[in-house]
């Protein structure tokens, strides 16, 4: 994408996009490439079953992987803060490994590596009458494990942001550490965790495209295949632009949902709900945060 637009901040995002596109096209020399705008239009307005199932797969893999990531993240964070040294070690090694190696390597290792050695061959699983191929299972497993490592750090930061007085108050009322975590600390930490969690899920929606390496027919692979064969063969310009549009649709819808969740979670924080939360416009296109917006621990 040519970012040749000068002061793009002045232009509205939509016109910036159009302007940038025009510049890119104008800058190209004569080419034998035959644009077929119908491919772009059809893929976006009248997506066929292949595209729809790609979207569906991207979305469902993202959601399941993110949920696994959140669960692993909570355990990873608590493990890293555990009083028991071996638990701390396990958590640290897990986080260290999955944050320190490329996701692509993790995906291929988990699917091919475990497969050929017969450590685990990823047989298809029947779930509620639907057969889930091994590649999708392996993809979800890899994405979830990888996400869990990042979520561990996010959850840990969220927990650490809560005033230690909260844990003391809960303990002095007779709560155990576990109950204090569940009832008092984690619900408050959630408020701190949700904005970065939103970014993580936004990333997840796009990162699923790496599953191309194990041929999971998600959104990117769908368009990639359309480019390789069939009536739309070798129209990468229109096809991948259409893929980009579909990823934008997914991330935009998520942005709306995230803004809503953040507003819901803001209860009990100074300055809410009147001035708290993030407006949809700010969420989508950025923008200034409300001045003096309080962040972090509650209790004034």
């Amino acid at each position: 994408m040519g970012r040749a637009v000068p002061s793009s901040r002045v232009l509205r995002p939509a016109s910036a996009l159009a302007g940038g596109l025009a510049l890119v096209l104008a800058g190209c020399g004569p080419s034998s490439y035959q644009y077929n705008w119908n491919i772009l239009l059809d893929s976006v307005i009248r997506p066929d079953g292949q595209i729809l199932s790609g979207i569906w797969l991207t979305l469902s893999i993202s959601i399941v992987s993110q949920i696994i990531g959140i669960v692993l993240g909570v355990f990873g964070a608590l493990g890293k803060m555990s009083r028991i040294a071996p638990i701390r070690w396990i958590a640290n090694v897990y986080i260290w490994f999955f944050r320190g190696t490329p996701l692509l390597v993790q995906i291929t290792f988990i699917f091919f590596g475990l497969g050929v050695t017969r450590i685990y061959q990823w047989p298809p699983i029947n779930l509620l009458g639907v057969s889930i191929p091994g590649s999708i299972q392996a993809g979800i497993f890899a994405l979830g494990l990888n996400e869990g490592a990042y979520m561990s750090e996010i959850v840990r930061a969220g927990i650490l942001s809560i005033d230690p007085g909260q844990l003391e108050a809960a303990k002095s009322l007779g709560m155990t550490y576990g109950k204090a975590m569940r009832r008092i600390i984690l619900p408050q930490a959630a408020r701190v965790i949700v904005p970065p969690l939103g970014n993580e899920f936004n990333n997840m929606l796009k990162t699923t495209s790496l599953l191309v390496i194990i041929s999971v027919p998600e959104l990117y692979v769908t368009f990639s295949r359309k480019n390789a064969s069939g009536p739309t063969v070798f129209h990468p310009f229109e096809l991948f632009l259409a893929a980009a549009v579909w990823y934008l649709v997914l991330t935009t819808i998520w942005g709306v949902i995230q803004a809503y969740i953040e507003r819901r979670l803001a209860k009990g924080v100074a300055g809410t709900p009147a001035t708290g939360g993030v407006s949809l416009r700010e969420r989508l296109f950025g923008g200034r945060r409300p001045e003096g917006a309080p962040q972090g621990s509650g209790g004034r």
Partner: protein
């Protein structure tokens, strides 16, 4: 942290007239049953923070229904001491018993071994604590703050806990703010909710860690009123505070701490009329 952000509901700027019910403990079914005439028995407590020797052999006994006010300069160990009483701090030496039970430790072959977390939690149920900075749960309403522990820790039914919570909130003058979140309450109101929250567990002992020192001056009175009422009704209390009017009125005994030790102990009359230690005289002359 200090001032409430603009646009927030705040209690009227002037001191709020608070009516404290004269049957505060009736809300929790009267004074908790006596299990021991001596509520607190602390014996030779030593506490180190790394290399810093924070408590150097503190011993203190508190009888049932007694109100003990602990004073002393900052850093003298008074807050550390009451935090040891409910085992928010570990101790390196000595023994603390509450209602005759060793707190935080088990005695194994004459040596102290830290107790299991579950047992410590069980013991803390009987010890209410009020913090300097209130430490209310910001994601819960005033009523939910009060009912949380009875429901989650004692396993009381939700409707029962609500009735109990409303009864206590009414007596500390906050029935009308039951659905407010802590940020919507003034400091004085928050601290009264915090007292109600501790009371809802029907504790045998209440610990107050400088409960009024984070408050604006006009809000100190309403919190002290609640504490005085508790004292009058016979709650056993250890209060770390420099509110001398409060001490004079309700303390059975005062304790002066300095440099990790108890320097002087006696009735309020003793302290206000005839303090023995030079250090106590100097300290009192500064804060009176």
């Amino acid at each position: 942290m200090a001032g409430a952000p603009k646009g927030l509901h705040r209690a009227a700027g002037v001191a709020e007239m608070v009516k404290v019910g004269d049957d505060l403990l009736a809300a929790i079914g009267g004074l908790p049953a006596a299990t021991s005439p001596l509520v607190v028995e602390a014996e030779g407590i030593h506490k180190w923070f790394g290399r810093q020797h924070a408590l150097k052999g503190v011993s203190l006994t508190v009888r049932r229904q007694e109100v003990v006010v602990v004073i002393g300069p900052s850093g003298s160990g008074k807050t550390t001491f009451i935090r040891c009483v409910n085992h928010l701090e570990k101790i390196e030496e000595g023994r603390i018993k509450v209602n005759g039970h060793l707190i935080g430790y088990q005695e194994v072959d004459g040596r102290l071994k830290e107790d299991r977390e579950k047992n410590i939690a069980l013991q803390r149920r009987e010890i209410g604590m009020v913090f300097q900075r209130f430490n209310l749960f910001p994601h819960k309403t005033a009523l939910e703050n009060v009912t949380e522990a009875p429901i989650q820790v004692r396993g009381i039914r939700e409707d029962e806990a609500k009735a109990l919570g409303m009864a206590i909130l009414a007596r500390v003058g906050l029935a009308h703010r039951a659905d407010a979140y802590p940020v919507q309450l003034s400091g004085g109101q928050q601290q009264r909710v915090a007292i109600a929250r501790a009371l809802a567990m029907k504790p045998a002992l209440m610990l107050f860690d400088e409960p009024t020192s984070a408050l604006d001056p006009e809000m100190i009175g309403e919190v002290l009123e609640v504490m005085k009422e508790l004292a009058r009704e016979g709650m056993t209390m250890i209060v770390v505070s420099h509110e001398m009017g409060f001490a004079r009125e309700v303390a059975d005994r005062m304790v002066m701490m300095d440099d990790g030790r108890i320097l002087e102990e006696g009735t309020p009359e003793h302290f206000f009329e005839n303090p023995q230690q030079e250090r106590t005289q100097a300290f009192l002359s500064k804060i009176l």
